[in-house]
């Protein structure tokens, strides 16, 4: 038994890749996941971006906008431009920035809100309701904004709310006495000051049991909400496994050929190293396209994924993604000296990219810094493209940033693979 333990330990100690997989890999992944998922809310950049449209232009609506601005959990923009310059947001512009994914949610304070409120308070059954234009692919942001909106309506304008309440009281119970009116007039400025001082730190007693009427509007206007969500997961998981299969395929294409001697034989034929790499890349890209197509077809059959209504966009993104993944696989296979090295290194890289790039956890739920970091990964660009196709109903030309990046990566990866493959040519 002791001999077996000794043999096992010596083998492990001398196989550095295996040693790294046992001890370093778990620590590395723990660190990455702790950074991706553990840092939420620690930085101001994790605030939810929200667009606000004031169609009412009343004192109440101004107070609500101001109240939302003061919420530390929100980053409010009232203009078409994110830096709060340029034209003021209108409903159409707000809808567009939600659909394009610039903000997950927009609040529209409709015309007549202030008047209705002054007459009836928020509890009135008539009058317009605040609209929440949302992208329901993000299930968290609209809910959080909804809650904060309720809080802000109760706390940002307590004086106006009280005036409305008193007006209603007088309507049903008769006019107040002069003494009562004097007391109310003294109290209202204090309420106003209290509201302007900030909304954070507890709710007004007046909020108990009452709430502003909010109508949630899905601006994605999708016929098949569940199917569109499935497409998001199909793309996320599909891209991650596309990377795994591309690396495994490239390893099989190059390192196995080196070990078996077939590479030496192939290089003695007319094909040459460039022809060999292009052939391997084409094969891997075709396999990748087939793999993603099968995955989405299964999504269509089993989960109602709306594949057939998005075929052109799907083809563009699938070809671009599979081409880049195949080229990345070739780079990794040309860097690695052995299959064990390739397996260890690529596992670390692919899982890291998948975590940062949104294959495991949607990027829009990450902090803004992590979202920016995610753009360094292959997955983020591929997933953004698929999201545009299936979720944002984007036209094909709107995919150009993603397609450009993926095509650029393909060229860079192929050039790198060709350079690295020189080591197998004449010594």
């Amino acid at each position: 038994m002791g001999t077996l333990l000794r043999i096992g330990w010596l083998n492990l100690r001398r196989d550095r890749v295996a040693l790294a997989m046992v001890f370093v890999l778990p620590i590395l992944f723990f660190s990455i996941f702790a950074s991706v998922f553990g840092g939420q809310g620690e930085t101001p950049t994790s605030r939810i971006r929200v667009g606000v449209v004031d169609e009412d232009h009343s004192e109440l609506s101004a107070r609500l906008v101001e109240g939302l601005r003061k919420e530390t959990g929100l980053r409010v923009r009232t203009t078409a431009d994110e830096s709060n310059v340029g034209p003021v947001l209108d409903r159409a512009a707000a809808e567009r920035i939600v659909r394009e994914g610039n903000v997950p949610v927009a609040v529209v304070i409709p015309k007549g809100m202030g008047e209705a409120f002054a007459n009836n308070g928020f509890g009135g059954s008539s009058g317009p309701s605040i609209q929440l234009l949302s992208d329901v692919s993000d299930r968290i942001a609209p809910q959080m904004v909804l809650g904060l909106l309720q809080k802000v309506t109760m706390t940002a304008a307590p004086d106006i709310m009280m005036q409305g309440g008193i007006r209603q009281f007088e309507q049903y119970a008769g006019a107040m006495t002069a003494q009562q009116k004097t007391a109310v007039d003294e109290w209202l400025p204090r309420l106003k000051a209290q509201g302007q001082a900030g909304t954070a730190g507890g709710s007004s007693p007046a909020a108990g049991g009452m709430g502003v009427r909010v109508e949630v509007v899905d601006v994605m206007r999708t016929d098949n909400r569940r199917g569109s969500l499935v497409s998001f997961y199909a793309a996320g998981i599909g891209v991650m496994f596309l990377l795994f299969s591309s690396v495994a395929g490239a390893g099989g294409a190059l390192l196995d050929e080196v070990e078996s001697g077939t590479l030496e034989r192939l290089l003695s034929t007319n094909i040459g190293m460039t022809g060999l790499l292009v052939g391997k890349w084409l094969l891997l890209a075709l396999i990748g396209c087939t793999q993603l197509t099968v995955m989405f077809l299964w999504g269509k059959v089993a989960f109602g994924l709306p594949l057939f209504s998005h075929v052109p966009g799907f083809i563009v993104m699938t070809v671009a993604t599979a081409s880049a993944a195949a080229a990345l696989g070739l780079v990794l296979a040309t860097i690695a000296r052995t299959r064990a090295q390739l397996s260890g290194f690529s596992t670390i890289l692919i899982l890291t990219m998948s975590a940062l790039g949104g294959s495991m956890f949607p990027r829009f739920l990450m902090s803004e810094n992590m979202q920016k970091l995610g753009l360094l990964t292959f997955n983020a660009w591929a997933l953004d493209g698929y999201l545009k196709v299936f979720w944002r109903q984007a036209a094909i030309w709107q995919l150009w940033p993603q397609v450009l990046v993926l095509c650029g990566l393909t060229v860079v990866f192929l050039a790198a693979a060709r350079t690295l493959a020189r080591r197998w040519e004449a010594a």
Binding site: G261, E264, R265, S268, T269, A426, A427
Partner: protein
């Protein structure tokens, strides 16, 4: 006519000198054995001819054309030491793949694949995947994939490693057939008896230099000389010191260290020297049960030239 001439080939990998001025030539239609201890430079030399190693200096001339060392010349067929086949493909599919990559197509490809299957004795196993083949079958197919496109020169790196005597015979029959048709073959091997029996000439390389070359008889003349080794088995062991008495003539006689009944003698002329030795044995009171006469072997030449020290 020389189809391949290597002149003063030199190659260093870092501080290791792999080739140190090696020179030899391969003639048309001959089967040339390239011998040498492990690490002598055989594989580097073969790879240099194949355009897979660039020489630091020296020249490789193939059919009067100097090879650039960057690509495999089209006249060459390469048979690597590893079984370089796709195990999941069938024998026919492997042949078709490498034939196509070497530029064959259509009816010519089919003809050559059928020829290769016939030559390797694999015609009835053509549709089986290679992973189901024995070592000998794979070796035969490995060679076939390298000669399918009718190369005029074939380089074979240890083509018979790990195969049974039947497969080995089949392989050498294939190579002999190619040589008869005018193809020139250069092979490396550690099986000296095979080289001796099957190859027309031998080149011995050590420390990156060609140290001897020629037919077996030429090598013998250059090295150990034309002695015959005569081994006699007696009916009983000789008395101590008696072997020296037997050497009275020209023959150099020694008793075997492990078996007292065995006596060995080196003779330049067996017809003249053996009868007196038999007479002396008889007079010593012993009779001879068995006699074996062996000519000088390539093994003896090889050891004479490269020494008995282990190289690795």
């Amino acid at each position: 006519m020389n189809v391949l001439t290597v002149t003063n080939a030199r190659k260093k990998f870092g501080s290791v000198v792999a080739l140190d001025g090696a020179s030899f030539e391969l003639r048309q239609g001959e089967l040339l054995a390239l011998l040498g201890p492990n690490g002598a430079g055989k594989t580097t030399l073969i790879r240099a001819v194949a355009g897979r190693v660039r020489l630091d200096s020296g020249e490789i001339r193939i059919f009067d054309r100097v090879a650039d060392g960057r690509r495999t010349p089209p006249e060459l067929g390469i048979v690597p030491q590893e079984v370089a086949l796709y195990p999941l493909l069938t024998a026919r599919e492997n042949l078709e793949a490498f034939g196509t990559l070497h530029g064959l197509s259509g009816a010519d490809l089919t003809t050559q694949v059928d020829w290769a299957l016939e030559q390797t004795g694999l015609a009835d196993r053509a549709k089986e995947s290679v992973k189901q083949f024995s070592g000998g079958m794979r070796r035969r197919l490995n060679i076939a994939c390298g000669v399918l496109h009718r190369p005029r020169i074939v380089l074979l790196d240890e083509p018979t490693v790990g195969v049974d005597p039947q497969s080995r015979d089949r392989i050498y029959d294939m190579l002999a057939g190619l040589a008869q048709s005018g193809v020139s073959l250069l092979l490396t091997t550690h099986h000296l008896e095979e080289a001796e029996a099957r190859c027309s000439r031998t080149v011995i390389i050590d420390h990156g230099k060609v140290i001897a070359g020629g037919t077996l008889s030429e090598l013998v003349d250059q090295t150990v000389g034309r002695y015959r080794l005569v081994t006699l088995r007696l009916d009983a062991p000789l008395a101590a010191g008696a072997a020296g008495d037997l050497s009275a003539g020209a023959a150099d006689v020694t008793a075997d260290a492990t078996d007292g009944r065995v006596v060995k003698a080196r003779m330049r002329d067996v017809a003249l020297e053996l009868p007196p030795l038999l007479d002396r044995i008889h007079r010593a009171g012993r009779s001879v049960d068995d006699v074996e006469v062996r000519g000088p072997s390539l093994q003896a030449v090889f050891i004479h030239l490269t020494g008995r020290e282990l190289r690795e």
